[in-house]
């Protein structure tokens, strides 16, 4: 089936998969958002334990999605992997450290003789939630605003200095924070993760005090989320974008490029609007109707909105990783992808994704079928963080 597709079709297919994985990742970062609220929602040891235990049942799913996102990006667009990871070294390293300290914190926090003490692991969880979301959001912002790199594959033939991709600033990625538009996306992701974290916690924890505090926290986080998100989106739709001439591969600046992308791909526009509506409905149904199921609207809305934003970054002849150093070095899905054979082989693997989603759903239901409450923490036969 896939082998009959044209290379460009496969490249688009894989951009769609990458965008989907990224959007699922942003949704699942409710774990990170929740981790930054442990002390704001939980005022006693028990309340905090409830929150940590309910988040702890999902952290690996987020983590695995991140790892799979990385693997799939490497496999489908390896030139991005070598250019961005090797270039924006400090940003990616900071993100990685933020996730390293998360992975052990749930398991080790309450274990006796845990060397660093319970508080330290809680600080680790907070740092993961803070840095993981802001930095990933800021890094993704460079998809729309560009980064300072150059790419010349023929450097391989210079035996003394053979690096293909080079970073052209000494700050190796840290300069991304100087662009307010990147940071706005980072902060949007951070506050969105907190909003989703609240919605997940109220869905999965049975504890009145936490529910009351959650409502107050929702105001504190939904408002800044909307401010940063609206700023990001409005600016994005009004700004110049990095367009590609599909005939020649030449990159040029186009006014209202991202707005054009939405209008020229009406399905994506509909997905985007539905996504934003879903998030807004999720927030308001919790705030005004006290709905505890709002995570499903908020979550689905997040997936749709992020998915469509990433689609307009790479599809419709757009350079998804623009080079500010030399516009013609920008990465597009055409010039950075794997070969036809590899994309075909992987496309067959991608057919397993529905199976994966199905068993994740079954396992999720079997564990989260009823909200966690205080009595669960005393249950000796359960694994408790």
């Amino acid at each position: 089936m896939f082998e009959t597709f044209e290379l460009y079709t496969l490249q688009q297919y894989w951009w769609i998969i990458i965008s989907l994985l990224a959007s699922l990742l942003v949704f699942l970062m409710f774990v990170q958002g929740g981790q930054t609220l442990i002390y704001q929602l939980g005022k006693t040891e028990t309340e905090r334990s409830l929150i940590i235990n309910t988040l702890g049942r999902k952290w690996e799913l987020t983590f695995t999605t991140l790892v799979t996102f990385g693997g799939a990006f490497f496999a489908s667009f390896p030139l991005f992997y070598s250019t961005s990871f090797g270039g924006a070294y400090w940003v990616w390293m900071a993100i990685l450290f933020a996730f390293v300290i998360q992975a052990i914190s749930y398991e080790y926090r309450t274990k006796p003789a845990n060397f660093l003490g319970r508080k330290t692991y809680e600080v680790f969880l907070f740092l993961n939630g803070l840095l993981g979301t802001i930095l990933i959001g800021t890094a993704v912002g460079t998809f729309f605003n560009g980064a300072n790199f150059s790419v010349d594959k023929m450097n391989l033939t210079n035996i003394y200095d053979s690096a293909i991709s080079r970073w052209e600033t000494p700050f190796h990625g840290l300069e991304a924070v100087l662009n307010i538009h990147n940071v706005a996306l980072g902060l949007s992701v951070f506050f969105l993760a907190r909003v989703l974290g609240i919605l997940y916690i109220v869905n999965s924890v049975n504890e009145e005090n936490i529910l009351v505090r959650a409502r107050r926290q929702m105001w504190n986080n939904a408002v800044p989320f909307l401010v940063f998100f609206l700023y990001f989106v409005i600016y994005l739709l009004l700004k110049q974008g990095f367009a590609v001439n599909p005939e020649t591969g030449e990159i040029f600046m186009e006014k209202y490029k991202y707005l054009h992308n939405l209008l020229q791909m009406p399905v994506v526009l509909i997905l985007f609007l539905a996504g934003v509506a879903g998030v807004l409905y999720g927030i308001s149904s919790f705030l005004f109707c006290r709905s505890r199921k709002a995570i499903w609207f908020g979550g689905a809305g997040t997936v749709l909105a992020v998915f469509s934003l990433l689609l307009i970054a790479g599809l419709n002849s757009t350079a998804y990783y623009p080079s500010l150093h030399n516009l013609q070095h920008s990465l597009t899905i055409r010039n950075s992808s794997s070969s036809h054979y590899t994309l075909t082989a992987m496309s067959y693997v991608s057919l397993f994704v529905p199976v994966v989603i199905a068993y994740i759903y079954v396992a999720w239901k079997s564990i989260n079928n009823k909200p966690i409450e205080k009595s669960d923490l005393d249950d000796d036969s359960s694994h408790i963080y």
């Binding site: 996102f69 799939a72 270039g87 996730f99 390293v100 080790y108 391989l156």
Partner: protein, 517 residues
């Protein structure tokens, strides 16, 4: 242009990868093996309904969980380090290497992480059978994760199933099955996985021995020992068989590494195997500090030729043959390979210029030269310093021999333990119980030595013969890599201390008392 290459950048980048990989490998083998040991124990519980077996299973699950968390923490770094520190490599082989990595994520990691949640939190939420299936799926998911990353590693040692495309300046996959089923991939996967199972069996026996010596949890400890010793004996035999096969695959495909295994300087027919050897501290070859002779050795006659080629008359090339060439056995000298590699690299540059000039004839000519010499492409980077083609012989030799000796020893140990169990004397055998505890660090030493052998022995190659470390490394400031190296060192060491303290405490506490399902 004769600028000197910044070797300190390569050395630090290698050091960082080695540090993170070795830390990761402290935790992975135990979880790989313990997964199956737990699954077997839980199966016995479900079959017999005896709550004691549930208690046993849950204790080992606690140990599993502590290791798994830190295995995940150290593992994420490795995936991204290919990009951050080996940027050229990511592009040059991304078309092949990326696919197994993505498959690993989609097929294996989700399987493992989804059912691990059921395994830990589902005792009272799902049926006994669903729980048991989840535990088995965790075990299989873990081993499946190992499959894909080992396929990728094997491809770096024996690049097959691809063709170099000068248009894109990279290798492109032509046959996925050749990549998946290459002899190197088969040997690497089977040997790594079976040795991990062996390590887990050693750890289970070691911890149980400690209980028996202290006369605590006697039933628990004896039952754990039975399961682990049977599992260990089977997997240790398998480890030795796959190890033998691995050595043969290396002999045929990475002759320099094989010569380093044995410290074989001058090649010979009827080559003896050095069973035990101590290397001289003074260099055998003053031009190359990596090459040293023995001050002492015990040899098994003819055995190396037999092990490598299953023929005692076979010629096993030594380091000198591989560097200086050996016409009789049709071995090219390093100088010849370097010249041909440089031809290939220059032809790639020519190809690009010809393409820009739209000169089809010149493109064809360049492409032909490139194709003819491509198998030596990586050697072209060594025009200035061919001595870098030789890996560190002492490190490779010692790590190889330590691994082999310990592997043999563990097999004997499992047999002895099983015999003692059979005779009903295990709880009284203080000597063997003490040995059981001592074996735990030895198993980790063997496991790490195996990777040191595999990875130091193939230096200077990131991809055998095609890409050396110096052409693969990201163009970073050395100080940046030193900084992250130190950060990793501090963070991972801190986490290791925490992990060990928690483990020791849990072992001290022992299995919890509780009722049935």
């Amino acid at each position: 242009m004769t600028e000197a290459f910044d070797y300190s950048l390569i050395d630090w980048s290698r050091a960082q990868f080695a540090l993170t990989a070795m830390y990761h490998w402290i935790f992975v083998p135990l979880t790989l093996g313990l997964g199956f040991i737990m699954a077997i124990m839980e199966t016995i519980y479900v079959r017999t309904g005896n709550p004691e077996w549930k208690r046993i299973t849950k204790f080992w699950m606690t140990i599993f969980g502590i290791n798994f968390a830190i295995g995940v923490a150290t593992g994420i770094i490795l995936e991204f380090e290919f990009g951050t520190n080996w940027s050229n490599y990511s592009w040059f082989v991304g078309d092949i290497f990326g696919a197994p990595l993505a498959i690993e994520g989609i097929m294996a990691f989700f399987l493992e992480s989804t059912f691990i949640a059921v395994m830990f939190f589902g005792w009272n939420k799902v049926s006994k059978k669903f729980h048991l299936v989840s535990t088995w799926l965790v075990a299989f998911g873990a081993s499946l994760s190992a499959l894909w990353i080992l396929v990728a590693n094997a491809w770096m040692q024996l690049p097959v199933g691809m063709k170099f495309n000068p248009e894109t300046a990279r290798n492109e996959m032509h046959n996925f099955w050749d990549v998946l089923l290459s002899p190197m991939a088969v040997s690497k996967f089977t040997h790594t996985i079976s040795s991990s199972y062996l390590l887990a069996a050693i750890v289970v026996i070691g911890i149980s021995s400690w209980y028996l010596l202290r006369k605590r949890h006697i039933v628990f400890a004896k039952r754990s020992i039975v399961v682990a010793a049977v599992f260990g004996l089977i997997t240790s035999i398998f480890t030795i068989l796959t190890g033998d096969y691995s050595a043969r695959v290396v002999a045929q495909n990475q002759p320099m590494k094989f010569a380093a295994f044995e410290g074989l300087y001058v090649g010979q027919t009827r080559a003896p195997l050095v069973a035990i050897g101590v290397m001289s501290t003074s260099p055998e070859d003053p031009d190359n500090e990596n090459i040293k002779d023995f001050v002492f050795k015990i040899e098994i006659p003819n055995f190396l030729s037999y092990m490598a080629f299953q023929d005692i008359n076979a010629f096993v090339p030594g380091i000198r043959d591989l560097m200086e060439g050996n016409e009789k056995y049709n071995i090219l000298s390093a100088a010849e390979k370097i010249a041909r590699g440089k031809l290939a690299i220059d032809a790639l540059a020519e190809f690009k210029l010809a393409k820009e000039a739209q000169d089809q004839a010149k493109m064809d000519e360049a492409r032909q030269i490139l194709d003819e010499n491509f198998q030596y492409f990586g050697y072209g980077y060594f025009v200035d310093d061919p001595s870098r083609l030789v890996p560190s012989v002492p490190i490779t030799f010692y790590s190889f021999h330590i691994m082999v000796a310990l592997g043999m020893w563990f097999m004997m140990f499992f047999a002895i333990v099983l015999l003692l169990v059979y005779k009903g004397k295990i709880s009284q055998s203080k000597f063997w119980l003490t040995i059981g505890i001592v074996n735990i660090p030895l198993a980790y030493i063997a496991s790490q030595s195996g990777w040191i052998t595999a990875e130091m022995g193939r230096q200077p190659w990131v991809i055998q013969d095609l890409m050396p470390t110096m052409a693969a490394v990201s163009r970073l400031d050395t100080n940046a890599v030193i900084t992250t190296f130190i950060l990793f060192g501090v963070v991972f060491t801190t986490l290791l201390i925490a992990e060990l303290k928690i483990m020791f405490k849990q072992i001290k506490i022992g299995p919890k008392q509780e009722g049935g399902h």
